[in-house]
């Protein structure tokens, strides 16, 4: 899929800096980032971008908006599931290519699940759902969700619940990256 830059593994300033370094067409990237921020912010909380809005500020705001949107959708979609505060990853996928190597997405999900004490065996299944959605999103910021039975012999009703938010944006007319948020929990 591309090169994952996770805020959890790195830091928000570092991921912001990495995205900024990849942007070649600032106007195009800014347009997309502002749409991402608007899309991933509840309407009542949207504020117009300030006059002097830098690429770094827009990138950071888009990353934060994706993270908040992911938690918001998780709680709306699965009100009966307690989402631990730590079970959230967000960041950017640099060098994103449509129908790119799905292994990078599987590895990123696997790392997250591992960090959250969840069986990493589900990462392939989640990646197989997510990658085609990202590929077909055509720059529309989206959220999606899924539920997988964990096949726990002691609890047949146990499921893994997950939510992802993502948005493809332009680095240049021909190069793209993705802003993402991802959460999962077992209940």
């Amino acid at each position: 899929m591309g090169k994952f830059a996770s805020v959890n593994a790195l830091s928000l300033p570092l991921v912001t800096e990495m995205v900024e370094a990849e942007v070649q067409d600032t106007d195009l990237a800014m347009q997309d980032l502002i749409i991402i921020i608007d899309s991933f912010t509840p309407p009542s909380l949207i504020i117009p971008p300030p006059d002097a809005y830098s690429l770094a500020e827009a990138t950071e705001d888009a990353l934060i908006a994706a993270s908040k949107q992911t938690v918001l959708i998780f709680n709306a979609q699965y009100p009966h599931v307690q989402l631990p505060a730590s079970n959230l990853d967000y960041g950017a996928v640099l060098d994103y290519t449509v129908r790119g190597d799905i292994k990078t997405l599987e590895n990123a999900i696997s790392n997250d699940l591992n960090d959250w004490g969840i069986d990493t065996g589900f990462s392939d299944e989640i990646a197989a759902i997510l990658q085609p959605k990202a590929d077909k999103s055509q720059f529309t910021p989206l959220s999606t969700y899924g539920k997988i039975n964990t096949n726990n012999p002691d609890n047949s009703a146990e499921n893994l619940y997950w939510v992802a938010s993502f948005a493809v944006f332009h680095l240049s007319k021909t190069d793209y990256a993705v802003i993402y948020g991802f959460s999962a929990a077992i209940a």
Partner: protein
Amino acid sequence: MNNQEISKGPSILDRTRITLREATKRAKAWRTLLSSIPSGNTDIAGNPIPLIPAQRIFRSINVNMDDIDQLKKDHPEARSIRVYLSLPDPKYPYNICGMLVPVDQNNNDMLTTSIEGDTMTEDEILDSVSRSTIYDFTMPCPSMCDPNSQLFNVID
């Protein structure tokens, strides 16, 4: 016609079903219409800029089945639900939200509940969340979309 005869015929779902081809055509017509609304501005090349960016074209409203079940439980007297479209902030014409309202057997919107002995004024009721029966639990697309769906596709 008695009840038995009615149950033998096609259900309301059967009678209102439309084909995927027809649905795709309708969804595309909607997206085309929205994308053709001009903002009044032009780009550097002089081309008109649409009011709604392609990425933000409002397509659908996602409603959680659990929320529908809860609504039926809380309003057993309701005969239907009505989804009003709304704009929380007119500065963002593409941030369309659904407002869900139970509807009674006489096709009246059920907008507020009355509580016995309540002394609230009409004006106070307007600002009371506890007295309101208008719900904002729908999730619009974007961003709650299925990009794999034939009904989603961005304007070609």
